[in-house]
Amino acid sequence: MTEFRLERGEKVMRAVRKHWFVLVLEILPFVLMALVPLLIPDILEFISRGGSSGLDRFTTLLTLENPWIRLAVGLWWLVLWVTAFSAFTSYYLNEWIITTHRIVEINQHAFFSREVSSLLLNRVQDVRTDISGLFATLLGYGTLTVQSAGANDYFHMHGIPHPQELRDLVMREITEFHKNVNTSRVI
């Protein structure tokens, strides 16, 4: 781990990212916007059939045979690709890691803006899951909220796959953590 150093006896139990469908939902608008240049000539042709003969000239010029149109469309697609790739990069570099001692949230806000925060398991007060929506219910993704004791600190893990499993894992690790702490005190 480059972001944080594991303590002695600490093990990584699970590393999770958002569900793949969340990424698909983020990428989908770019795919739709990429289709727009291909649909414009058809739309104009459809309108011109309705009587707007002035659009005929545009319809014949707005083809990929025209080098300027090809340049504009190519650059439009390049911009969309770069933006979609940024979304994928952000998706992949954001991560939650559950260890035997703590929960680590790695948040890549933007390029050169990366936040790594930890919540010790002995400070966890409440763990909640929320699965709402058709796709979330069908595909099994949702939000896991971990509240720490004392302060109003919350860890929100949005769009993670199988949040109930993760909640159970966190609760199990909390139990194990307290058990180990108590055992070491007795010894």
Partner: protein, 85 residues
């Protein structure tokens, strides 16, 4: 009374895209435009690769992602400029 015919030649109706430079004279314009866009893309790509290699280097997906980005970008750039031969 006869209608007077215009002596000047009738001008053809211009193309709706006539404000754009003619393609055969536009090589320099395209070169400048494309160089600027390429520089922006190159800066973005270097930063992106840096982040992937620094924070995602443990993952098998880092190198294929970078390769895919370079490949798709190259295809789109070639496509965009392919009309200006």
């Amino acid at each position: 009374m006869e209608d007077e015919l215009p002596e000047a030649p009738i001008e053809a109706i211009g193309s709706p895209l006539s404000f754009l430079p003619r393609v055969d004279n536009a090589y320099d314009l395209v070169s400048i435009l494309f160089t600027g866009i390429f520089l922006l893309w190159a800066i973005y790509t270097v930063i992106s690769i840096y982040h992937w290699l620094r924070y995602g280097h443990n993952s098998w997906i880092a190198v294929p992602s970078i390769a895919l980005h370079l490949f798709i970008s190259a295809v789109l750039m070639i496509f965009a400029t392919s009309g200006f031969n």
